[in-house]
């Protein structure tokens, strides 16, 4: 069932989107009608103006979800499930021809040769002014200037169309021919092309980690894929073409020799170490430019113009072959489209970090599936489930071993006949150590439960210890002044600043996180209980005195209930802050918990999972608050009415 849903998520999304659009339209129509009605009714202000209307809420929800669907490419995938695969094939072609384009104005505004000549000239100009006169003899300095002049000549020769060698010229012509053939091929009708079995067997878009299937699954895709394959050869060919004018050959061998001479001079003569370094440095910079020129990658502009035109032609053919896909892409795939990297095709733009709603739900369902074997849960732990908890573990945790030590009697000793008869004291020790089997109780389990458990335990401890202390601080000068410095010293430090210290002391187990959260909850509870207690009206305390209440009874029956509103507000705040701190602590250190999941998801860039954890935390936070609001409404209806 789940698999079926997962496999057909594109169709499900298509249905949901239609429902959402309908919802949007209907709610706008109803909303406008209602508004028109009221505009007529009201004369002086609308008494109901602060009340909402379900239709605007529905409209808002629909808008939000539709925007989500749109920018995550959910709409595109729902109605054009093959589009991404085709875009991937187009991207393959683009990737393959990009090195050629990069050398031409069509891809980078200038010919690469133009840029090369400009750069080399700049560097040569600079070198000429910097010939070091102290380490080179005057003759050598002249020689260096000559070499630089020859290098300029090399560039001039390479840029001269009349000196273009016949071989280079024919190679370029052949290249243009091949590109044109490819363009013609792109313009041909692809319907006869069929995707391979292997391609059809790929997981659909969104079903694998790589997301977009790489092999072409449509006729048009196959066409692009084939063309891209052939274009790869053309690119290799292009990269191999060199321009070596005949006049350059002599200059090159000549310059090579003269540079070598200078190097030899450096070695033979007895220069001091610093001079050698300086000479070598300068000669190196001259030689570096020379090697670039020796490579023969400078072409006359006119010679490459035809290649540029052929590539433009190929682009036009590509657009023609894309046909309707171009429209679909610009309408339904906001962002930079699909990009082919070495091994996979990836969505670029908002879709990269914004997973599709259906994918998020699917991810959540996988995560919340308690069946670990079937791939549910995360890292071998379910999200929220239950397990059998051996009772002895609990006993072993709470009962100290020393109980057995205190018990009268002796531990068993090895008897003379080689047997050991355990005494009651031994049994007691086993019990206290949690070694005796006591049965098991069902216990909640899972990442979410671990997080909840930490928050709830810390909160409970914070309330149990913080509220009494706060109440006493609210009524007693001793308690107030004695504990105030302690609490006011640690409270202002952000909890996350404590985290590294506490997590280091306690290790990454639950204790550290619970203690950290306890610190947070404790301070909040103390302060809120104190505020509540100190706000008790004097007349109430006096009245209860006159009615015969003792001090402890006044604490219990007057001060505590009077502080209840502040205490509950404190709990509400503490839950929020604890929850926030917990997630951060789990991100810092932990092996379970919702923050742990998010942290791991972050390191592997699993955006779906990140969003799922964010949504889970948001929903839980909201639930906490709703529960607290309900509790407050139930327990202190008298708040502010006394």
């Amino acid at each position: 069932m789940g698999e079926l849903l997962s496999y057909n998520r594109a169709y499900i999304a298509a249905f949901i989107i239609i429902v959402l659009v309908a919802m949007f339209v209907i709610s706008v129509v109803v909303g406008r009608k209602e508004t028109a009605q009221r505009d007529k009714d009201e004369v002086f202000g609308d008494p109901e103006r602060t009340r909402g209307g379900w239709y605007w809420s529905a409209c808002g929800v629909a808008t939000l979800l539709l925007v989500w669907f749109y920018f995550s490419w959910g709409v595109g995938r729902a109605y054009f499930p093959e589009a991404a695969n085709e875009m991937c094939q187009v991207a393959k072609l683009e990737e393959v021809v990009s090195p050629i384009k990069a050398a031409l104005p069509i891809g980078s505004r200038y010919f690469k040769s133009t840029l090369l000549v400009a750069r080399n000239t700049d560097q040569l100009d600079e070198l000429v002014t910097q010939v070091p006169s102290d380490v080179f003899s005057p003759d050598e300095q002249d020689e260096l200037r000559n070499i630089i002049g020859d290098q300029r000549q090399l560039m001039a020769n390479s840029s001269d169309p009349t000196q273009l060698s016949a071989q280079t010229s024919s190679e370029l012509n052949a290249l243009v021919g091949k590109i044109s053939l490819l363009a013609d091929k792109l313009k041909s009708d692809p319907t006869s092309l069929k995707p391979t079995e292997e391609a059809l067997a790929q997981p659909k878009w969104g079903l694998s980690i790589i997301e977009i299937p790489v092999l072409p699954t449509t006729s048009r895709g196959v066409l692009f894929d084939t063309v891209a394959g052939e274009a790869a050869d053309i690119t290799t060919l292009f990269n191999k073409i060199r321009n070596h004018p005949v006049q350059n050959d002599r200059i090159i061998s000549d310059v090579k020799q003269r540079i070598q001479n200078l190097k030899t001079a450096t070695e033979s003569d007895d220069f001091d170490a610093a001079a050698i370094v300086q000479r070598n440095k300068y000669i190196k910079s001259v030689e570096r430019i020379f090697k670039r020129l020796d490579d023969g990658t400078i072409f006359p502009a006119r010679a490459l113009e035809e290649v540029n035109g052929a590539i433009a032609n190929l682009d036009a053919a590509k657009d023609h072959a894309r046909g309707g896909l171009a429209w679909i892409e610009s309408l339904f795939f906001p962002g930079q489209g699909v990009v082919k990297s070495r091994t996979q095709c990836t969505e670029q733009g908002s879709a990269r970090w914004l997973p599709k709603p259906t994918d998020v739900v699917a991810e959540f369902l996988t995560l919340s599936n308690p069946d670990i074997e079937a791939g549910g849960g995360y890292k071998g732990i379910p999200l929220f489930w239950w397990k059998w908890l051996p009772l002895q573990d609990v006993v072993g945790f709470f009962v100290p071993d020393s109980i057995a030590d205190i018990w009268p009697g002796e531990y068993a000793q090895l008897g003379p006949d080689g047997t050991i008869t355990p005494s009651f004291k031994d049994d007691l020790l086993a019990f206290a150590r949690g070694e005796a089997y006591l049965g098991a109780i069902p216990m909640l389990d899972g990442h979410l439960w671990d997080s909840l458990f930490r928050v709830l335990v810390a909160l409970a401890l914070g309330i149990l210890l913080g509220v009494p202390l706060g109440l006493f601080m609210g009524v007693s000068r001793f308690f107030k002044s004695f504990f105030d410095p302690l609490i006011e010293l640690y409270r202002p430090v952000p909890p996350l600043a404590w985290a590294p210290l506490i997590l280091t002391i306690f290790g990454i187990t639950d204790d550290g996180k619970i203690f950290l959260l306890f610190m947070v909850a404790f301070a909040i509870m103390v302060i809120s209980a104190r505020t509540g207690a100190s706000g008790t009206q004097l007349s109430k305390i006096r009245a209860s005195h006159s009615l015969g209440a003792s001090t402890s009874q006044i604490m219990r029956y007057v001060i505590l209930p009077n502080a209840m509103p502040e205490i509950l507000t404190g709990v509400r705040i503490a839950i929020g802050v604890c929850w926030g701190t917990l997630v951060a602590a789990e991100i810092l250190a932990g092996t379970t918990g919702i923050g742990f999941i998010e942290n791991i998801a972050r390191t592997v860039s699993d955006y779906e999972l990140i969003w799922v954890t964010i949504l889970i935390m948001g929903i839980l936070g909201l639930m906490f608050d709703i529960i607290m609001r309900w509790v407050i409404a139930r327990t202190i209806p008298w708040r502010g009415k006394g």
Binding site: K540, S546, L547, G548
Partner: protein, 265 residues
Amino acid sequence: MADLICENLNMTFSNPQTGGKVEALKDINFTLKKGELLSVLGPSGCGKTTLLNMLAGFINPTSGTASLDGKVIEGPGVERGMVFQQGALFEWLPVSQNVDFGLRMKNTDPAKSKRLVDKWLGIVGLQGFGDTPTYQLSGGMQQRVALARCLVNDPEVILMDEPLGALDALTREKMQSLVLELWKETGKTIIIITHSVEEALLLGERLFVMAPRPGRVHKEYNLPFAELGLKESLRDIKQKEEFSEVREEILTMIWNMEEEIMGHG
């Protein structure tokens, strides 16, 4: 010998900020016999609340003693019940639990306290309101709850600090009758502080007019109106000539005191 006796009571407040001293009460001497009804009247700031707080045991006198039944008052006690200007009710408890608060503190048997609570709620005219939250009651009803809460504890002396101050005229009159009835029926010693001269006359077997700076008893009256109030309607009493005469006399007295304060100020 169930008398309330004040001997040379002095109360001086010192203000740590200004260093000034206020003689809130100076040389207060009086004896109140069991069952007497005393009303205390005086301009604002003359020390009425201070006196009552001292009798209740909430504050200790600077010098002098107050004693009840021969025992010196050193702190709050059940034998001295207090009714505050504003109910000082526990808003987190319903009416019945407010009333039986004192009984619960003493661990009285629940069945017995239930009987007592029902009885007193009946007397103050609040039967059937046991489960109502106090914040849903009117001001007059709240004062009646406060009265019941005090009386259920069976104190020997009832101290009331402007208990009817916040009530409208009609409710006030009803409550005045109620106080008189309770006085007669229970025979308790009652001290009632009020700002209203009429109320002081109606609810005072004895009446102290206090004067400020230092706070002292300026004049004392013995009045017949409280006795009369048990038989006749309060409105009729107010029509009587003796009543108006005393009223005018006291009003002039207080008026002069206020003038003096203003003059000094």
